[in-house]
Amino acid sequence: MSVNNRDPLVVGGVIGDVLERFTRSIDLRVTYGQREVTNGLDIRPSQIINKPRVEIGGEDLRNFYTLVMVDPDVPSPSNPHLREYLHWLVTDIPATTGTNFGNEIVSYESPRPTSGIHRLVLVLFRQLGRQTVYEPGWRPQFNTREFAALYNLSLPVAAVYFNCQRDNGCGGRRT
């Protein structure tokens, strides 16, 4: 199913800020504890301290996938000059399995937004084959599009995003 204009990914600005339009072709299930992530869900940092369980679809175990988790609203959605922040990077995930079977290039760092309501986006790419992906070196100012181009990942096959704001208060007035 291709992404139409009413798709939450478009309305939420993920398509545009982070990704290009794409057609979903692989199932992607992200679960934090008991809570399954659906687009636009509000989750607090205390609930996402540990990495989620990620299960992907597909049919052929010979196909490998890469999962990227980024925050495009750093340090704050009104002033995202550090867009995007790389929270997690797992490669070589075989189809029908999950991130536990992949290669964690960049370890999961639990999001802790200080200001505003941030979007956290998880994107799944299909790899051409088993490939070496080099860790970026730093987490801020990551660019998912460029990363995908660099490793010939082409368009995403699945994506989901949720919202996250700090546990207590609003973080004070923005300067």
């Binding site: 939450p8 990914l9 309305v11 939420g12 600005g13 659906t38 636009g40 009104s78 309501i117």
Partner: protein
């Protein structure tokens, strides 16, 4: 002498804004931090020329010095309000422009005499006001309007993001509902079919029929 000086300050403060009490406090607090430099400057300032100065905020200076040429009395006057004053400006984002005009004048005055005294307890709005208000009335109007405009734009963007967030979640829910409804219908149909299949099987089982006979 002291009381009349105070009265004069309050009077001129009142003409600036409604909250007159905070003006001398914040002003004096800022003053206190630059006391050493200020005293030196006071000696040099030509009071007569200051009197002719039209700027409202700078009017406070000649008033003070006229009444208290002696620095010690001036110091005492300053110390008194300082005890009561923890923070001159409550951090309120919804303050009117009139209120905004109040905190900036004191730091502005201090600014003109000693640029190092910007670091005060004033909140972000006052500090921000300092930058655009070095000269006085006209520029402060512009920067005030500018700031308001920027704020409005930021607020609009934030509101738009909020609406998008809400809409995205709603769309997701609608998609989920439609998906679940279809699956529900499908499963119900499946159940029906299974039931029917079971029923016909049951019927056939009731009649014991010979299906196979041995040849002998």
């Amino acid at each position: 002498m002291l009381s009349s000086a105070k009265h004069k300050i309050n009077h001129s403060a009142f003409s600036v804004s409604s909250s007159s009490s905070s003006l001398p406090h914040s002003y004096s607090q800022a003053k206190n931090m630059t006391q050493v430099t200020m005293e030196e400057v006071w000696k040099d300032i030509n009071l007569a020329s200051l009197h002719q100065h039209r700027q409202l905020n700078i009017d406070h200076e000649p008033v003070l010095s006229n009444q208290n040429p002696n620095n010690s009395i001036f110091k005492d006057f300053l110390k008194k309000p300082l005890n009561q004053e923890p923070q001159p400006l409550p951090p309120s984002s919804s303050s009117s422009t009139l209120h905004r005009s109040l905190p900036p004048p004191p730091p502005e005055t201090v600014l003109s005499l000693n640029p190092h005294s910007i670091n005060t307890h004033f909140d972000e709005s006052a500090r921000f006001g300092c930058f655009g208000m070095k000269r006085g009335g006209q520029e402060s109007d512009e920067s005030r309007g500018d700031r308001r405009h920027k704020r409005m734009i930021k607020n609009r963007e934030s509101a738009a993001r909020s609406r998008a967030r809400k809409q995205a979640y709603t769309n997701e829910l609608e998609l989920a509902i439609s998906h679940l409804q279809k699956e529900n219908a499908r499963l119900k149909r499946q159940e029906e079919q299974l039931k029917m299949a079971e029923a016909t099987q049951h019927q056939t089982k009731r009649k014991l029929q010979r299906s196979w006979t041995t040849p002998f």
